[in-house]
Amino acid sequence: MAVGTRPTSHRPQSGPAAVQRRGRSARDRGDGRAGYVFLTPWLLGLMAVTAIPMLMSLYLSFTNYDILTPWSDVEWIGLKNYQRMFTADPAYWHAVKVTLVFAFIATPLKLGSALGVALLLNRSFRGSGLFRGLFYLPSLLGGSVALAMVWHSLFDRGGSVNAVLGWFGIEGKAWVNDPSTALGTLILLAVWQFGAPMVIFLAGLKQVPNELYEAAEVDGAGSFRKFLSVTLPMLSPVIFFNLVLETIHGFQGFTSAFVLSGGTGGPVDSTLMYTLYLYIRGFANYEMGYASAMAWVFLITIGLVTAVLFRTGRFWVHYSDGDD
C-alpha cells in the first residue's frame, strides 16, 4: 500500500482508489485532535455524571451518610451496610424476592405475547400497519404515572376487571389491595406493554428467508413444525436481544409500583420493588449510605444476570453464517 503518497493537486487524477488513498492520509493528520474536541461533552459527562458518582457511591456505601449531618461527621462503617442488608433487614430480602418474581414472570409473559402477536401480524394484510401501531401505543406511554393510575382503578374492588369476572359468576376482590395479587396486577401492566419487543420481533421475522419455509414445506413440514425448525432458530438472535433488554428493564420497574402502592410498596410490602425500596431508604429515610450499598448490589446483580444470559445464549442463539 502506498500510504505515503501526498496529494500534489486538489483534483483527483486517477480514479476512486487514488481519492481514497488521499482521503485516508488527510484524515490521519487532522482527526486525532478533532476527535477529542467533538468527544469533549461526552467525556465530561462520563467523568462528572457517571464515573465520579459511581466511585462516590462506592465510598458512601461504606459510610453512614444521611445527607443531614455535615461531611465531617460522616463515619466510615466498613461493611456494616452490607451486613445489615444481608442479615438484618427482612424488608430488603422481601424487595429482592418481589423484584425477582416480577422480572422472571413478567419478562417471559411479555416476550411470549410480543412474539405471538408479531406472528399474527407478520402476514401483511389491509390494516396490518394500523394494528402494529395500536399495539405499540401502550409501551410508548410506558412508565407514565397516568397509566398506573388507570390500572389501579381497573383492578380495584369496583373496577372493570371484577365486573367482567362477575359475568362468569366469579366474585372479585380488590386485587390491588390484596398482598397475594397486587404484584400480579403489576405483572399484567408490564405484559400489556408488549409493543416494543413486538415491533423488534416483526423486524426479525421479515429477515427470515422465504426459501427456508419453502424447503421445509417440500420436506412436508406443517405450520407448527416450520415454526419450531425455521422461525425459532432464525429468530433466536432477536429473541436473545429482547430477552436481555426486557430482563434488565424488568429489574428496574419503579413507577407503576410507586403509584399503585402510594409510594409505600404495600400492601404488606407485596409490591416493594428493589428500586422502590432503594428510593424509600435513600430519599424518604435519608439513609444515603445504605441506599448506595443497595445500588451497588443491584448493579452487580444486573451485571451477573446479563453475563448468565450471554453464557446460556451460546447454546441456543443461532447466528446465520456470513453476516452479523
Partner: protein
Amino acid sequence: MVTVAAGRRPFTPRSLARPVVLLLLTALVLYPLLWMLGTSFKAPEEILNNISVLPEKWTPENYPDGWTHFDVAFGRYFLNSFMVAALTVVANCTSCLLAAYAFARLRFRLRGFWFAIMIGTLLLPSHVLIVPQFVMFRSFGWVGGPWPYLPLIVPHLLATDAFFVFLMVQFMRGIPRELDDAAKIDGCSPYSIFRYVVLPLSRPALVSTAIFSFIWTWNDFFRQLVYLSDLSKYTAPVALTLFIDSTGQSAVGPMFAMSVLSLAPVFLFFVAFQRLLVEGINTTGLKG
C-alpha cells in the same frame, strides 16, 4: 407462505380466526386507554362499578376542576414539564450528535476503548447513580435551588444518554464516506465536514432523537420525583401523584381528566410520527 397476501381466498373458519383474534386483542389493548378517556368525563357516582367507556352523563367539569384542584394550577405543571422536555431535547440533540460524529466518522487514539465504555453505559440503570448524583448536585446548591431543573437537564448537555449517541452512530455509519473524502479534497477540516456534510444529512436521526427524548422526559417520573420538592416546581407526572395521597373518591374524575391531558402530548406525537416511532424502535431496539 409468510408474506402471502390474505383476502383472496374463500372465507373459512380458519381464515376468520386471525381477524377475530386481532380484534379481540385490540379491544383488550385499547380498553384501558379508552376507559380512562371516558372516565375523565364521568360524574363521581358513575365512576365506581362502571366498566362502560362512554359516560351516561357527560361531565366536562372534571377538566376545569382538575386544573384548579391544587393551590397551584395544573397549567403550571404542564409548563414545567414542557420546559424540562424541550431543554432536554435541545441538549440531547446537540451533545449526542457531537459525540456520535466523533465515534462514527473520526479516527483518534483510544476510539475503540471509549466506544466500548459508551456501550457499557447504555446498560447502566439510572437507579445506581441517583444517590451519588443527588448528593453531588445538592452540594452544588442545585437541589431545591432557585432553578431546581439543573440536575434534570445538565446531564443531557453532556451526552449521558448513550441510547441517542448509539442511535446516531448507527445512522452516521450509513452516510457514504466518499462524501467526507470529497470534502477533504476540497480542503474541508473535520469541523467543516461536520457542519456541511454530516449535520445536514443527520436530520432524520436528529428528528428521532428529538421525539424520543421528548416522550421519555415527559413520561419520566423517578428523577423528577427525586429532584423536585417545591410544589410550584413540580412537573406533570409528579403533580399527578398528588391526587393519590390527598383526596377521596370525589377527585377521581378530575384525576383522570389530568391523566388524559398528561398523556395527550405523547399521543399526539404518536399520531403524527407513528411510522417513524415504530421504525426507530425496530432499527435500534430503543425501548418505549
